[in-house]
C-alpha cells in the first residue's frame, strides 16, 4: 500500500499515512489537531470531467456559429458557463 507524508500545520510534526486517507481527516499523532488531507487525484478527475463537458458545449457552439445558428451557439455557451459555475460552487 502506498503512503503519503503529512506535516501538521499546527505543531509541524511529520507523519506517514496510508494513501487511502487522501481526501479524508485524521488527528495529528503529536498535538491531536484535526488535519484535512486534500484528494488531489480526485479533484483532477472532477475538474477534468467539468472542463470536458464545457469543451463539448463550446464545440457545439462553434458548430452552430459555423452554420449561422446564433441562438443555439449562445445557448450552448450559456449552458457551458452555467455548468462550470454550478460545479465550481458544488465542488
Amino acid at each position: 500500500m502506498s503512503e503519503i507524508h503529512v506535516r501538521c500545520g499546527q505543531c509541524g510534526h511529520t507523519m506517514v499515512k496510508p494513501s487511502s486517507m487522501a481526501g479524508g481527516m485524521f488527528n495529528c499523532d503529536d498535538c491531536g489537531a484535526l488535519i484535512e488531507l486534500k484528494g488531489a487525484a480526485d479533484s483532477a478527475l472532477y475538474w477534468g470531467i467539468v472542463i470536458a463537458i464545457a469543451l463539448v458545449l463550446f464545440a457545439v457552439a462553434g458548430g452552430a456559429m459555423t452554420f449561422g445558428n446564433v441562438p443555439m451557439a449562445m445557448g450552448a455557451i450559456a449552458l457551458a458557463l452555467l455548468i462550470v459555475l454550478i460545479f465550481a460552487l458544488a465542488g
Partner: protein
C-alpha cells in the same frame, strides 16, 4: 465519549417528511426524546452529513464526510465535532453492496478494519434489489467478532425509520461511530432502493 447523547442503548432515526433542500433526519432515544438532528447538505458532490444537537443546528455533534467525490468503495470519516477528534471511518464495500448485500467496514484511525456492518439476509437483500425495493432491511454490526448492534428499518414508505439497538458487552462499539453508521445507512443506502 463523554456527551450524554451517547449514553443510550436505543435510538430511532426518522426521516423528516418534507425537506426542501437536502435530507434531514431526527434522532430520538427510547423515550422518544429528540437527542440529535441530521442534515445532509444538498448540491454537495462530496457527501457531507452533520449531526446536530437540536433542529436549530447550532451545536454540531458529529461530522460525517466522504473522502472522495467519485468512489465505488466510498469511505466516510467520522469526527466528533465537540472536541475535533476523529472517531474512525466507515467504508462501503462497493462490489458486494452493489450486487449482493449492503456491506460496510468500520475502520480505526489508521484505516485498519475492526468491525463490519452487514445486511442480515443475502436472500432478502436479493429480493429487495430485484423484486421489491420497499422490503425493509436489518443490519448487524460486529466488532471484534461480536454482535454489538442491530439496525432495523420499518415498512413505512413515507417516513422511513431506522431502529438502532446497541447491545451491551465488553467489546461495545463507540456509540459515535455506531450512530454515524446508522445515519449513513439511512442517508446513503436509502437512496439505492
Amino acid at each position: 465519549m463523554g456527551d450524554a447523547v451517547y449514553d443510550r442503548n436505543e435510538y430511532l432515526l426518522r426521516r423528516k417528511f418534507w425537506s426542501f433542500l437536502g435530507q434531514k433526519f431526527y434522532i430520538y432515544d427510547a423515550r422518544e426524546q429528540l437527542v440529535g438532528f441530521v442534515y445532509q447538505k444538498a448540491f454537495k458532490l462530496k457527501e457531507d452529513i452533520r449531526v446536530y444537537r437540536t433542529e436549530a443546528m447550532k451545536e454540531e455533534l458529529l461530522i460525517i464526510k466522504a473522502r472522495k467525490i467519485i468512489d465505488f468503495s466510498a469511505a466516510y470519516d467520522v469526527v466528533d465535532a465537540l472536541n475535533n477528534e476523529k472517531v474512525g471511518a466507515l467504508r462501503r464495500k462497493g462490489f458486494t453492496s452493489a450486487f449482493f448485500k449492503d456491506s460496510w467496514e468500520i475502520l480505526d484511525n489508521n484505516d485498519d478494519v475492526y468491525g463490519t456492518l452487514e445486511e442480515d439476509s443475502a436472500f432478502l437483500s436479493l429480493v429487495r434489489r430485484h423484486l421489491f425495493a420497499l422490503l425493509p432491511q436489518t443490519f448487524t454490526v460486529k466488532s471484534g467478532g461480536l454482535h454489538v448492534a442491530t439496525f432495523r428499518q420499518n415498512w413505512n414508505i413515507f417516513i422511513p425509520k431506522l431502529m438502532v439497538s446497541f447491545h451491551g458487552g465488553p467489546e461495545e462499539i463507540d456509540r459515535r461511530i455506531g450512530l454515524a453508521a446508522a445515519v449513513l445507512i439511512s442517508a446513503i443506502e436509502g437512496r439505492q432502493g
